[in-house]
Assembly symmetry: C2
């Protein structure tokens, strides 16, 4: 893909600067949704089927996701690549901005609040994602799971 | 504006998730371009006039920029709001991703590299932008200007 300029901010915007790609990546990371149907039906924002399909294709071409070849009838399971996992700090920065400058709902804000207070949860989640999606063992396998802590905080607010 | 969900990442994506808004903000912050014509002619990515016009309007409505009322023939000068200045950490996170996962040109990469190495430059630049756009004096007025350091690094690479 020809880039509009040699600027690294532009390069990231060319890949991530649309209204849906970051949300698909968010749902893969925080909801562990790896199949088309889960991503479609679980979407808080109600992503449309044709948009989800085109975003997933673009993210594969851009090198942020991989999709194994499947035979007819098999459900494809998407995996994050290292470049996909590395969008988490961008997501955290976007979340910080949203926390400060937009309203939201407490149960959908609490994970962003936790990650802002405790940056080690961001590192921990990236290590977990590398294990889950790339098969790279976590450097600290006995440490508590960041994902479990984030999920527990979300569940507490939800009920 | 009705939000698609109460998630802070989504809220930020609704405001910043398009192929141009972050680049307009980048050029205001790093190039101190505050008039339509400068933003148009200086754009590395060749933004089109109608797109620039619509992005500026949207950023004003979203509360990231202000534009004073002007009488006929006067050139409007845009200012960043606090919410606009607060997108700098998002820009830095995008730049870090671009540095690691995309090619670029050295003169357009060097500022992102510097900000990654020295986070105090990001804080310093935000303080400068608050002074320049909002009239809030810098907390440390005798400290060297982050903008000057970033600009000097860019000029060195350019020549």
């Amino acid at each position: 893909m020809e880039q509009r300029s040699g600027c690294p901010i532009n390069a990231a915007v060319e890949t991530l600067g649309d209204p849906w790609s970051m949300l698909v990546l968010r749902d893969m990371m925080f909801g562990n949704r790896r199949h088309f149907r889960e991503l479609l039906t679980g979407s808080e924002e109600g992503i449309a089927s044709n948009i989800l399909s085109s975003r997933l294709k673009r993210l594969v071409v851009a090198g942020l996701l991989t999709k194994p070849d499947t035979t007819r009838g098999q459900r494809a399971m998407y995996s994050l690549t290292e470049a996909g996992i590395a969008t988490l700090p961008v997501m955290v920065a976007l979340g910080n901005w949203g926390l400060d400058h937009r309203d939201g709902t407490e149960e959908l804000r609490v994970r962003a609040e936790l990650m802002r207070e405790r940056p080690e949860l961001v590192e921990g989640l990236m290590d977990e994602l590398r294990e889950l999606h790339l098969g790279i063992p976590r450097p600290n396998p006995t440490a508590p799971l960041a994902s479990a802590e984030l999920q527990a905080a979300y569940e507490r607010m939800r009920h």
